[in-house]
């Protein structure tokens, strides 16, 4: 399996790059704002929640804007990846009926597209933090390590979603709700301190909680990521990745029959 993976990678890295770039290009083609959407999107997204919680409900507290921003951006990345993954293979029916392409390619393309958007959003986020007077320290550089950990969690989830998406089209609709639920079950809109202590520990079982707390630690509180929790998640991610790759490998020649 690993030998095939390595081979596929060698043969398809050009394709991977071109597919990702072309997907990014076609996403913004024919829109008036074009690539500006990558910048406008996160700002609008955050403005809506800020208006709702921070102004209408007036529940945000001090520094709510920066708190919200540092939570929304990473979670949006994760949920967009998971929703997009459900159609990563199933929407490529026309290609898969005619040419052999390793299925992982399409999943990596979706991951790449969303990660690129996330990186653009992150630049906006960091600028926003800077101009809001947040004290950014050397700890913020842990961001790059966090991204790698986060990617390694997202990839296996995406592989499994993509696989299910071929056989069960309903997964896309379900994923929309799951991602909405994740938004409310992770400390994006609320603060961990405001959660009753007995539930708080349960929330940490949601891996995205650990990531969001870590992102905030490094950006807002000059601290360190939750290394212990993250390494446990990394271990689980790698196991999941192995399982995901096994599934893809096993069904590699089946997808073209059922799509």
């Amino acid at each position: 399996m690993f030998k095939k993976l390595l081979n596929d990678w060698r043969n398809n890295k050009d394709l991977l790059y071109h597919l990702t770039v072309s997907e990014l290009k076609s996403n913004t083609a024919r829109t008036y704002l074009g690539t500006l959407w990558w910048i406008v999107d996160p700002i609008l997204y955050m403005a809506i929640y800020y208006f709702l919680v921070g102004i209408v409900l007036n529940r945000g507290g001090d520094d709510y804007a920066v708190y919200l921003f540092t939570g929304l951006i990473p979670l949006k990345w994760a949920t967009a990846c998971m929703v997009d993954a459900t159609t990563a293979i199933s929407s490529k029916a026309r290609i898969l009926q005619q040419v052999y392409v390793p299925k992982l390619t399409f999943i990596l393309v979706r991951l790449g597209v969303n990660t690129f958007k996330f990186l653009v959003s992150s630049v906006i986020m960091v600028l926003f933090l800077y101009f809001s007077g947040v004290d950014l320290t050397i700890n913020a550089l842990n961001f790059f390590i966090l991204i790698v950990f986060n990617l390694l969690l997202l990839l296996p989830i995406m592989i499994i979603m993509a696989h299910i998406g071929v056989y069960l089209k309903d997964i896309k609709n379900m994923m929309q709700y799951i991602s909405r639920t994740l938004l409310y079950l992770s400390p994006v809109l609320f603060r961990m301190e405001s959660v009753p202590a007995n539930i708080r520990d349960l929330l940490y079982l949601n891996p995205f909680t650990d990531f969001l707390v870590s992102y905030r630690n490094i950006f807002l509180y000059q601290g360190q990521p939750l290394w212990d929790n993250l390494f446990i998640i990394l271990g689980l991610s790698l196991v999941l990745l192995f399982i995901g790759l096994r599934i893809l490998n096993k069904y590699d020649k089946q997808y073209a029959k059922v799509i």
Partner: protein, 241 residues
């Protein structure tokens, strides 16, 4: 005696039977199957032009998928010497919002080519397609004939070892059709292996050395073009009555 380049040995391919309830289908133990190919057994020799004929629903598309490596047989073995053949009629990977040139790269990469090779052949592809300035415009502005031209040019100019042709010659206007046919004939001259899959015996009669006739997933006959095509035409005529 020419060397065998492709070998199919007792090939059986099944599809899972379609069910209205996908969840039930996924969980149920006894899976109903539909056998699309039943015991195909033939070889393709290097440099020959092989025709595969059969009516609609005879299993031609499944056979194409099998030969281009999209699916695996449930039973039997399929072996190719060197690179797997690729289907010539393409355009499946076209991104309508991107320009013709960008789509050439995308499609050619999908067909398993290296970027360097595409760089080298870009000029020839554009010239063959006769798209001129349209090559810089988004593919969504193309007519269906223009799309087909772009797809065919990309595939043929990259010079695959084995050509797998799926009734592509019905594309474009008659002048371009002739050009396609000439390009294929030229490949035949160069001793390339060509596999033509079709339901009509016209072109088969003109270019093929040998023919495989499949009917309802079974291999009805293999042999000399003239002989098999005669049988096939007679069979089809009888059906019409």
């Amino acid at each position: 005696m020419k060397k065998d380049i492709i070998e199919l040995k007792d090939i059986w391919v099944s599809y899972p039977e379609h069910s209205d309830n996908p969840l039930k289908q996924l969980l149920s133990k006894d899976k109903k199957q539909f056998w699309a190919l039943k015991g195909l057994d033939f070889t393709v020799k290097k440099g020959e032009v092989l025709g595969i004929i059969g009516r609609n629903g005879s299993g031609k598309s499944t056979l194409l998928k099998l030969m281009s490596g999209l699916i695996e047989p449930d039973q039997g073995s399929y072996q190719v010497e060197g690179k797997r053949p690729m289907l010539l009629s393409l355009g499946a990977g076209f991104q309508p919002e991107l320009s013709g040139i960008e789509n050439i790269y995308l499609n050619a990469l999908l067909l398993g080519n290296r970027k360097k090779k595409i760089d080298e052949n870009l000029e020839a592809i554009i010239e063959f397609s006769e798209l001129d300035d349209f090559i810089y415009k988004p593919v969504r502005t193309y007519s269906s004939g223009m799309r087909a031209r772009l797809a065919f040019s990309t595939a043929i100019m990259l010079d695959p070892e084995i050509l797998l042709i799926d009734e592509v010659l019905g594309v474009g206007d008659s002048a371009f059709q002739k050009k396609c046919k000439d390009a294929i004939l030229e490949k035949i001259q160069q001793d390339r292996t060509v596999i033509l899959v079709t339901h009509s015996s016209g072109l088969v009669k003109q270019i093929c050395d040998r023919v495989v006739w499949i009917h309802r997933g079974e291999q009805k006959a293999v042999g000399d073009t003239k002989e098999i095509v005669e049988q096939y035409d007679e069979f089809m005529k009888a059906k019409k009555k």
